[in-house]
């Protein structure tokens, strides 16, 4: 495969994703012509690109789709569920066609789908002809949008227009959205002593080429009709903007605070047309239409271009950038260390500056590798749509905070677990329409995906308004499975935690409980692999909410560097609550590992003993209190060295079992410090307490 083909593949994948997204929005808003245009445009690009880069099947297939949507665009085929179903299936098929190897199975699908699509375009075309003619009678303007017309608009607001808060400039702005414009600005200022600062002395002349009907121009001025003199006159039955020379000529005549009369413009146009013998081509209706569509394409690509504010960069380059930034952070740390050691005054300032810049560079570089959750949402919408069809349920997916950004590797890792949660909600959470009505709930079930930031974490909540999970049932099941004793007393949270135990999740549990539990242990494990956590809350007949708590980024953290004997460790700053001083005596002689700090009691770990570090702890130690969920726990260390930016590096598979550490970092002096995973330390502690 050559480079161009690879480029096309990337582009085509994007296009197909856009297509899918647009189709789903079309389903919600079937009459939105801008969505239909978008769909048509995407299909067109796919067809063109496919043909050019040797994906003939793709090109041919898209051609049939395009034909149907061309009819939709012309209101000759109605958007309905059946059409959307076929098109969405086609989207999947398009993805298959992009794969290098076209198998006989794909070819067969290709034929079947093509048949269905062709049939669709023919059938619907006929069915709708009668309605169509009716429509045409009702709305003769319907076909006009195809072609451009150039108008001369005079907009002369009265002096008092601004008294009621109208901003004439906004109207001009609105006009410019209708098409291409030339604007002529005129002002008639009175002598200074007569000047009333609140009054308007300006007027405008706008030459507008648009494919929108005349009414939409008048609509722009609908609220100022009484406060302004407005004249809209047609000057040319096409867009003048396809003739740059003509546009230049007209704009030359504009300005000088003078109104250019409509008749004069018409004259200019007529001269130009005559000189260039354009009239012939204009007579041919088809060509006019074609010109119009070219202009329209230019117009849309023009507006597109001005909107595009992002560029495509290969992820390799980003990874490389991240690696370099990581190196820089490490090197900067050694510089600080060197400066501190040698106490070089001149260098201190520079070093601190570099530290600040490095920190900013680090933060910026990180935002580059963040992508919004939106990328996933389309897939989820599709999943919800398909599955709810399959189960015969009526479910809508509502998202909030889709713009929340996450590291791209994180996005990849949460896709599967999220799909799983959605599947659970659809299959088991949401009741059938009958059940829902019987319970007095709205017939349509709702699934919410809500994402938001909280500190250095992103929370993603997946909730439904389904039947909820009965804790008694979980308890019963867990007892049967031998996971718990029948007589234990468990809090609600502890009961829900049972769902995440590997032994609980067997397929037979499920359907009769409420379904959760299938593979919930897998979900939990996957989320924990990326240093996240899962939390479940449920109310019977109200619904179930699962909250995923994920770190925003994986590779650099702010940490607290602490000493234990000759070794150094890092505690992530995000979990640190407070640091207290404590004597070695208090720590050694504490009862039941509880220490009183600042009048409050905290359970604590003496890390020096726990990690079997060398040497003796000093007389005055420090206790770092870290929090996790609602729990707080003290970690006794020899002493706290200070704050540090840590580039998190994996410890490697060999240390998979050493759960206390989420990674390691290289310090300025080249030594390695291990990074504590405090949530693991705490949960280990909790387990120990339970055993005791």
């Amino acid at each position: 495969m050559d480079t161009f083909q690879r480029k096309f593949l990337e582009e085509a994948t994007d296009l197909i994703n856009t297509l899918e997204q647009s189709l789903l929005s079309l389903e919600l808003d079937p009459n939105n012509s801008s969505i239909i245009d978008e769909i048509f445009r995407v299909m067109h690009s796919l067809k063109g690109g496919g043909g050019m880069f040797g994906f003939e099947k793709l090109s041919e297939f898209t051609h049939h789709l395009e034909t149907v949507y061309d009819l939709v665009r012309k209101h000759k085929v109605a958007v309905n569920r059946e059409l959307l179903d076929i098109t969405l299936t086609s989207v999947d098929h398009l993805r298959n066609l992009l794969s290098t190897e076209v198998t006989p199975a794909i070819l067969a699908t290709n034929d079947i789908l093509t048949q269905r699509i062709i049939k669709f375009s023919i059938e619907d075309h006929h069915q709708n002809t009668s309605i169509l003619s009716h429509l045409e009678l009702l709305d003769p303007e319907q076909d006009i949008p195809e072609s451009f017309v150039t108008y001369n608009i005079r907009f002369e607001p009265h002096a008092n227009i601004m008294h009621n808060g109208t901003n004439p400039l906004l109207l001009l702005d609105e006009l410019s959205h209708l098409g291409l414009t030339l604007v002529n600005y005129m002002e008639h200022l009175p002598a200074l002593e007569n000047l009333e600062y609140q009054n308007n002395y300006s007027s405008w002349q706008i030459v507008l080429a648009t494919n929108k009907p005349r009414e939409s121009i008048l609509d722009v001025f609908i609220f100022v009709e009484d406060d302004a003199h407005i004249v809209v006159e047609e000057i040319f039955p096409n867009s003048i903007f396809q003739f740059p020379d003509l546009v230049n000529k007209i704009s030359e005549n504009l300005g000088n605070n003078q109104l250019l009369e409509t008749e004069k413009i018409k004259l200019l146009v007529a001269e130009y047309v005559k000189a260039n013998a354009i009239s012939q081509s204009l007579n041919s209706v088809q060509e006019v239409a074609e010109d119009a569509s070219v202009v329209k394409q230019k117009l849309s690509s023009f507006s597109k271009e001005s909107v595009i504010s992002s560029i495509r960069v290969s992820s390799d380059k980003i990874d490389q950038l991240m690696n370099l930034v990581s190196e820089l952070v490490t090197t900067q740390a050694s510089l600080s260390l060197y400066v501190d050691k040698h106490n070089l005054h001149g260098l201190t300032q520079i070093s601190e500056n570099i530290e600040n810049i490095t920190r900013m560079l680090r933060d910026t570089a990180f935002t580059i590798s963040l992508i919004p959750l939106e990328h996933l949402i389309t897939r989820f919408k599709r999943l919800v749509r398909d599955l709810s069809n399959e189960f015969g349920k009526d479910i809508s997916l509502i998202t909030e905070g889709a713009e929340t950004e996450l590291d791209k590797t994180l996005i990849q890792s949460i896709t599967e677990p999220m799909m799983h949660l959605l599947r659970n909600s659809i299959d088991h959470g949401i009741e059938t329409v009958h059940e829902r009505i019987a319970k007095g709930k709205p017939a349509q079930g709702k699934i919410y995906i809500k994402a938001f930031y909280s500190g250095s974490y992103v929370h993603i909540q997946v909730s439904d308004d389904g039947r909820g999970i009965n804790p008694d049932f979980i308890k019963k099941r867990a007892t049967e499975k031998g996971l718990i004793q029948s007589d234990v007393n468990l809090s609600q949270k502890e009961i829900y935690d049972l769902l995440f135990l590997p032994g609980f999740s067997t397929a037979d549990v499920v359907t009769d409980v409420s379904g959760r539990g299938v593979g919930m242990d897998v979900v939990k494990r996957k989320i924990e692999e990326i240093r996240g956590s899962v939390d479940l809350h449920s109310d019977i007949d109200v619904g179930t909410t699962l909250t995923l708590k994920l770190p925003i980024t994986l590779s650099i953290i702010d940490g607290l560097l602490v000493n234990l004997g000759s070794e150094q460790y890092i505690i992530p700053l995000s979990v640190v609550d407070k640091i207290y001083a404590a004597t070695n005596n208090e720590i050694q002689n504490s009862f039941n590992n509880i220490i009183t700090l600042d009048g409050k009691q905290f359970p604590f770990y003496n890390l020096h003993d726990e990690f079997e570090s060398d040497g003796e702890s000093p007389k005055k130690q420090e206790v770092v209190v870290v929090k996790f969920d609602e729990q707080k726990i003290g970690l006794a260390v020899d002493y706290v060295v200070g704050e540090i930016q840590a580039v998190l590096k994996p410890l490697g598979k060999h240390f998979r079992k050493q759960e206390f550490f989420s990674g390691a970092t290289i310090l300025g002096n080249g030594q390695i410090a291990l990074v504590l995973d405090t949530s693991k330390v705490i949960s280990e502690y909790t387990v120990m307490q339970m055993i005791e």
């Binding site: 490490t330 598979k653 050493q658 080249g670 390695i672």
Partner: protein, 156 residues
């Protein structure tokens, strides 16, 4: 004689206690002098810890302990071999501590003998074959399985 006899491979030889071992040179990425190793608390004994290899965090395994031999103080001859191993369908780098590194030898494939399991003072499950060399025997190690992640897990 069989055809294969013409084919020769290069092996790096090294010493553990008083036995010479060999590994295919393609597996050896780097030979480091002994440097301080950062201990990982609560890890199995043969997992000595991690070192900083040009900005990368590299796990280090003590070959003596791995082979079931007595561990000894490190000397000035002690080296860390950085090996590239296949583990879980992945290629990963692992450091392994050996008593001393000897030389690279060319070995004709035809002379390699099947491994012997009798009478050895160390675990023989990692020996792939025996190379007769200058009236001595060199044990050819299966580095992939010796340093693999699974083996480290089973070990404890």
């Amino acid at each position: 004689m069989i055809q294969e006899t013409n084919q020769t491979n290069s092996y790096l030889t090294f010493r553990l206690a008083n036995q010479t071992f060999a590994t295919n040179v393609n597996k050896v990425m780097n030979i480091l002098e002994m440097i301080p190793i950062t201990r990982v608390p609560k890890a199995p004994a043969q997992l000595k810890g991690v070192i900083n290899l040009r900005g990368m965090v590299l796990p280090v395994i003590d070959a003596r302990i791995r082979m079931g031999m007595q561990s000894e103080e490190y000397s000035k001859n002690t080296c860390i071999l950085v090996m590239k191993i296949n583990s879980d369908f992945d290629e990963i780098l692992v450091g392994t501590i050996v008593d001393a590194v000897h030389e690279v030898i060319e070995v004709n494939q035809g002379i390699i003998m099947p491994p012997q399991t009798v009478g050895a003072k160390y675990k023989t499950k990692f020996t792939q074959g025996i190379i007769p060399f200058k009236e001595k025997f060199i044990m050819l190690l299966d580095i992939d399985s010796m340093l693999s992640v699974q083996q480290q897990m089973i070990a404890e």
